[in-house]
């Protein structure tokens, strides 16, 4: 077994010296914060970009120095542990893992670095004294979109397009369908998912979103809500080209430069304020009162919501009244929105 011993020797050569040792200049002078991205990395026009926007704002307003790290394709938990450890060791505080995939890694690393705050977006399964679980009530925002869709629809058929069939996106579906049914019990909700994990093309490829929207339009849908990241721009294109309503997701897509030619038909967008959650966590650490435990962003705190930038939307007083009432009912606890379809 020469090969095995060679492999052992290889790992033993620099024994005791870890890559994390090198970046361990402790500096308390300049505050540092770091983000470790989800698959897709920066430039996904969605989740990761929103997290980056939060970091950027913290850099500009709080003067912290931001670092970013991207995952590699096909990596495992061990790689995430290594990445987070390197970021924590380099003096970043907080270290934020974007997406549920970081949960097991953060649980491990948080124990080794008790004085560093770790942010974990979209997951509350792993908790700790120095872990802030940043979660969102996506289903509440989607419920409002369902109310708006049911009110705006003339055919009584509306469409939901999910990027990848994962529990997170099912929350969007559940809230949307419930909002539609509560507003118009006779309405029909067409549901389609673009891909199944581990194929994450459904968040990335606009042509998939376009084809799915086309299919729903053919079946008579006249409002289409896509929770599909970048792929959603394809369904917005299809719906707008056909003169039907589209509902955007994550950020206010009415104001997105890439979608300017379709914006007249973007009824509204379900916003999810990942950027604020990142900023707030960094600020809390800088102020010496780091967030810990579950930090929930719902309708009540405007962490999720419905955008109203489209002038056409503002003219629909009947629709706005229904949305506002639903919002109030959810905040008051009169309506409980389901998180799974």
């Amino acid at each position: 077994m020469g090969i095995a011993s060679a492999a052992l020797a290889l790992s033993a050569t620099a024994c005791g010296k870890s890559s994390n040792d090198s970046g361990s200049e402790t500096d308390s002078k300049a505050a540092k914060a770091a983000i470790a991205y989800d698959i897709g990395g920066r430039g996904d026009q969605s989740f990761n970009d929103a997290a980056y926007a939060g970091l950027k704002r913290a850099e500009d307003e709080l003067g912290v120095k931001g670092s970013e790290a991207e995952p590699s394709e096909g990596e495992g938990d061990a790689d995430k542990v290594q990445r987070l450890t390197a970021l924590a060791r380099a003096g970043n505080n907080p270290v934020i893992g974007v997406g549920f995939a970081y949960a097991p890694a953060i649980e491990k690393v948080a124990k080794s670095y008790p004085n560093t705050t770790f942010g974990l977006i979209d997951d509350t399964s792993k908790t700790g004294k120095n872990i802030a679980n940043l979660v969102f009530n996506e289903e509440q925002g989607s419920y409002l979109a369902g109310v708006a869709a049911a009110k705006a629809s003339k055919t009584g058929t509306v469409g939901f397009i999910g990027g990848v069939e994962v529990p997170l996106i099912k929350k969007f579906e559940a809230g949307f369908a419930q909002g539609v049914k509560d507003t118009n019990p006779k309405a029909k909700v067409l549901v389609q998912y673009l891909t199944q994990p581990p194929n994450f093309d459904g968040f990335a490829k606009p042509d998939l979103g376009k084809a799915a929207a086309q299919g729903q339009l053919d079946k008579g849908a006249d409002v289409i809500y896509a929770a599909a990241g970048l792929a959603g721009s394809g369904s917005i294109e299809a719906a707008a080209t056909a003169g039907k309503w589209a509902i955007g997701v994550d950020s206010d897509q009415y104001n997105q430069a890439g979608l300017a030619s379709y914006k007249a038909k973007i009824l509204t967008s379900v916003t999810k304020d990942v950027s604020d959650s990142v900023y707030n966590l960094i600020k809390s650490v800088k102020d010496g009162k780091p967030q810990t435990g579950e930090v929930r962003y719902g309708l009540a705190t405007d962490g999720v919501g419905l955008a109203d930038s489209n002038p056409e939307y503002k003219k629909m007083t009947d629709l706005i009244a229904a949305v506002d009432k639903a919002k109030k009912d959810i905040i008051d606890g009169k309506i409980t929105v389901k998180t799974a379809p």
Binding site: A14, S18, S19, N20, E70, G74, R83, F100, P198
Partner: protein
Amino acid sequence: MMKFDKDKLILGAAGPVLALVSSFVLTVLVLLATGLDPIEPITLMIDNAAFSDIQVLIVNQTGIYYLAALAVAIGFRMNLFNIGVDGQYRLAAMVSALVGASIELPGPLHILLIVVVAMLTGAFWAGIAGILKTTRGVSEVVSTIMLNAIATSLVAWLILPKNFGFQPEGSNNLTTGEIAESGWFPGIDMGEGNGVIYGFTFVALALGVVYWFVLNRTRFGFDLRATGASETAAQASGVDAKKMVLTSMLISGALAGLAGMPTLLGESHTYSLDFPVGVGFTAITIALLGRNHPVGIFFAALLFAFLDKASSSLDTEGYPKEITKIMQGIIVIAVVVSYELVRRYGLRRQQQKVGEELAAGGAIKTDKEVSA
């Protein structure tokens, strides 16, 4: 005879060396074209590889790639292109994780059960392509690609909470539930902050020895190589070619199933939505680069693991780590081109030699031994 072997060795090494050198040169050119320092990222990566935590990641990844590449290589030796290693690997990891999490047995038995289930699942999935090929003549290239897509859908369906999956409270992940500690494969702890070398890595290396022995020292291995070289000729000499196709597909699938074991038994202890994917595709390049030879594959796997892991922190130094993806991509093309060049050169050389011997009135020597 000895002289011919030496030629073969030089020609055999020429392919990979040519491929690596040209991919290195092309990567440097790409970096220059984008206005980046072409040398610094490479020195950074070498510096990174000196750290023991990165080394542990490299060693572990080498084991995973090695198993998957052996799965591809055994197909190649038989002239079969199993592109379905990735699907076989994922399905096997999922099913074995499921079985492992639902049953509790004393230590070694528990691990053995999980490993056997993984091998059977992988073999079953590859076997479908094998049966389609032997009974209906369906190209395994097409059927294994399609089976990859079907495996994706099947795994996605199986892991739904309403079927066999499990959604931890407060998580957006889906898992198969955690395997009890008796089903964890012990590893070598390299110390705080350095990580653990998966025990299964050594199983992977041992399988390399088994692979070499079976292919080169058994009747089965001879039949396999003979069928790979020429199916009709092998059949004429009494080898049941159809049986060989099916058997090698089954073995390839079983090995693909094992490729998920280092991660499953050593780290995650569950199959979840973020289980590593794409291993089976990288393995094709590794098998090609390693010329289907167990030692060649080892170094190719080590190289790819190094490129993957040592590049992880290039981002923070201002270099896109995707340059290693470019490098790996160029290696694929360079490998195919340079092997063809070397093969043609070797063929011409051989013909020349035969011509010379004929001219000299000597006997024709045709001890041509073709390897995949």
